[in-house]
Amino acid sequence: MYSNGAGPEGQVASGRPPAIWAEGLRKVYGAHIAVQRVDLVVQPGEILGFLGPNGAGKTTTIKMLTGLIKPTAGRALIGGHDIQRDPVAAKAMLGYVPDTPNLYGKLTGREFLRFMGRLYRVPTAQAEHRAGELLRLFDLTTAASDLIEGYSHGMQQKMALAGALVHDPKVLFLDEPTVGLDPKSARLIKDLLGQLRNLGTAVFLSTHILEIAERMCDRVVIIDKGVIIAAGTMAELRARGGQGSLEDIFLNLTGGAEYAPIAEVLA
């Protein structure tokens, strides 16, 4: 599935490596196959929606792509750097916001951003400027001197996003970024994604909110039982999965429509 003109090793005609390139990614835990095989390419400035039912292998795939877990087989390249063989260079290019923030609760918001700036080797002045901007953008300035443990889930989610953006990543992985956010913050994320695309940042977006995927993503990949079952633009998916909304296509492809009637379950 090397769309967008990328071939093996992620090379494209322009010579510019894809933001994300993965081939044959597979993860097995004992007898359980979490991800069977994932091949994908994401170009700079592209937003890829990564969809799938619960337990389909979305988070495992993201963790393999970001180097959080080692794949049982296969390779992943971030900006042309192998995440396993050249992890420091690859990780310097990416930002990641997990579905559960799990930040350092005993640091203040500003201390956390400063710490992230040091981890990603952002020059001090630039990191300070960027942290100030991000705190303002996410409406966290007044809470910047409070310990993160006192933040609400939504504030922690925004702080995680701010931390992921401090070093101006070229590739951004977002795992359910709008969970726990109020409508204003969710809208902010959507606007932010558009801005990032314009700046050439590739966004790998895992979400269950199909409306966001339909509106924001250039391409959509659907994974089920550890295998990619569909990939393409909305037009391409409609051609394959039938007309209708992304929700209809998703349910048709993943078998959600076959659920037993709700009334029977609750009887």
């Binding site: 180097g67 310097a92 005993k106 400063r114 040091r118 990603y120």
Partner: protein, 588 residues
């Protein structure tokens, strides 16, 4: 899906909500659930893990049980040797009191963990079960470990004491319910203490304040035990003198007059040993009345206290900092904004450790004991000279002062005890935030250097300071002081590296209680390796002090060199071992 007329029809009538039956049924349900989880946890361990757990338990339990049996036997011997002493009715009570005090020390921490820090509390508090049942089941969380302590500490002593006194079977029959009832009072007291602290502690920090309070309570009890000799009359405590048995008897009788249920039970047991049914009945009825009455009262008043405490735990109560403070923080970049990656990691740890009182409480024990040990070491006979001429003369003095070696060992032990905890838990303390470091573009070397710095810098500063003060106070020769300092820094640096290495190899990121940060394998490996390096390395360093003059030069070469080689080997081996598994951390 539940079909009408099948399961519902055969189900027995449930007890009325709020009734004693419902309370018991809910408590039983929650207890069996917990036992099931304990069994699952043990069964899902690897064979090695199970073996290690069993061996560890036996390694602790067997010597203690033998010691306990010896105490019981010794008590009997004492009474036979000094027949004038009227202590027979007191000793079983003393045994029960000692074990009750031990349970009281542990009960605060156990009650804290089970009543407020369990991860299933939210699930249980919104479930349609009696909240008193939740409290009761959580209160009984430590009951298995308490009975284990009783079986190891009290049971052997009571049995050997009974055998020694030639007690009849009634003694052994009644000892069983007495031992079964013994944990109730300490558990009730521990729970009440926790509930009271939770009532007054600030909502946001209540868990940490409770953790700190538990540690301070344990330390206080430990310190009281350590300094007990100070409160007894010199005729008993002074070493080298024959004990004044009558003074001992007077003190013990005074103690035995206290209305403690364990002492009342002890008198009942002694009476039972002689077949005195009335005495046994009075003693054990008194014990049951106080123990079960207090425990029942505790359960009755606990519902409201527990609910209040739990509600306080749920509220974030986050007070915002002033705008001036926010502006000041924004303007002041500080070291955190300028540091290299390793230093930034260390700075992060140094901010987080004291802010998390539960975590900080882990360092409290050695932190409190260090000054006690230190001033005891300095308090011995020695020169208290600051004569500069003498100090200058010492520059050429090469002989090592044995007292100085003792002080150096004391400083090394004290400072290493504090900082090993930081090094050993350097990775585990990241807990669920480990992903932030794993995903960051930092090398393994930078991570290890940062984590090592966070443990080594406090060690180096503290040990250097203590050694400098000790050298000046005791008037060590400069060369001797320098050599002592070198030994401390060398062995300490190596021990910290080993603790970090093993902590890296066996980290535990999924802890709820900071006491669980150290895994069993890491603790055993660290303890073993630091003992080996400390003893052998220390032996090498002490060679010049104990070598005949004709071998002095050789000893001065071989000693430090051997210590350096051993320290380097230990540090390198453990760090390489830990590093080889670094990428596996957080894989599952």
């Amino acid at each position: 899906m539940i079909a009408e007329g099948t399961d519902r029809a055969v189900a027995t009538q449930p007890p009325a909500p709020g009734s004693a039956g419902a309370l018991l049924a809910d408590t039983w349900l929650l207890l069996t659930l917990r036992w099931q989880m304990m069994l699952n946890k043990f069964q899902h361990r690897s064979t090695g893990g199970r073996l290690l757990t069993t061996m560890g338990l036996l390694a602790i339990a067997l010597p203690v049980a033998f010691l306990s049996a010896g105490v019981g036997f010794g008590g009997g011997w004492l009474l036979r040797t000094f027949p004038d002493l009227a202590l027979e009715g007191i000793l079983p009570g003393l045994i029960l009191t000692v074990v009750a005090l031990m349970l009281l020390i542990t009960s605060f921490g156990t009650a804290l963990g089970s009543l407020f820090l369990s991860s299933d509390l939210e699930l249980l508090m919104i479930a349609p079960v009696d909240r008193r049942a939740v409290f009761l089941s959580k209160l009984l969380d430590g009951v298995e470990s308490n009975y284990l302590i009783i079986a190891v500490v009290a049971l052997p002593a009571l049995i050997t004491y009974g055998l020694g006194q030639g007690y009849g079977p009634l003694y052994y029959v009644l000892a069983l319910p007495t031992l079964l009832g013994t944990p109730l009072l300490p558990e009730g007291l521990g729970a009440l203490g926790v509930l009271l602290v939770a009532r007054f502690a600030p909502a946001r920090r209540v868990r940490e304040v409770l953790g700190l309070a538990a540690a301070l309570f344990g330390l206080s009890c430990s310190a009281l035990g350590q300094t007990s000799r100070l409160w007894f009359t010199p005729s008993i405590a002074r070493p080298g003198t024959s004990p004044d048995m009558h003074a001992l008897q007077t003190q013990l009788e005074g103690f035995a007059a206290l209305p403690l249920p364990s002492l009342v039970a002890g008198r009942g047991l002694a009476a039972a040993g002689h077949g005195d049914l009335a005495g046994a009945a009075v003693g054990l009825a008194g014990f049951s009345l106080i123990t079960f009455g207090f425990f029942a009262g505790c359960v009755l008043v606990a519902e409201r206290l527990y609910n209040n405490g739990w509600v306080r735990m749920q509220s974030s109560g986050n007070a915002r900092r002033s705008q001036a403070r926010v502006a000041r923080d924004a303007a002041h970049v500080g070291w955190m904004g300028r540091a290299s990656v390793p230093l930034a990691l260390a700075l992060k740890d140094w901010r987080m450790i004291p802010r998390d009182l539960r975590n900080f409480a882990q360092l409290l024990g050695p932190l409190v004991m260090l000054p006690v040990v230190y001033f005891n070491l300095l308090g011995g006979s020695g020169r208290r000279s600051l004569d500069l001429t003498e100090l200058a003369g010492g520059l050429v003095q090469t002989a090592l002062d044995p007292a100085g070696i003792g002080i150096a060992i004391g400083i090394l032990t004290g400072t290493v005890l504090i900082c090993t905890q930081i090094a050993a838990t350097a990775i585990s303390m990241e807990r669920h935030s480990w992903w932030l470091l794993k995903i960051a573009p930092i090398s393994a070397s930078e991570l290890v250097r940062g984590k090592y710095l966070s443990a080594w810098v406090p060690f180096a500063v503290l040990s250097t300071l203590l050694m400098a003060v000790a050298s000046l106070w005791r008037g060590f020769s400069p060369l001797g002081a320098l050599y002592g300092w070198f030994g401390i820094e060398l062995l300490g640096a190596s021990i910290l590296a080993m603790a970090l290495g093993f902590g890296m190899r066996w980290p535990r990121l999924g802890w709820d209680n900071p006491k669980q940060m150290n895994s069993g394998w890491a603790s055993m490996a660290t303890l073993g390796s630091e003992t080996v390096v400390g003893l052998i390395g220390g032996g090498f360093l002490c060679l010049p002090a104990f070598t005949p003059p004709q071998w002095a030069l050789t000893a001065w070469i071989i000693g430090p060199l051997g210590a350096i080689l051993l320290a380097a080997l230990g540090a390198w081996g453990a760090l390489a071992f830990g590093l080889s598994h670094l990428s596996d951390i957080g894989e599952t």
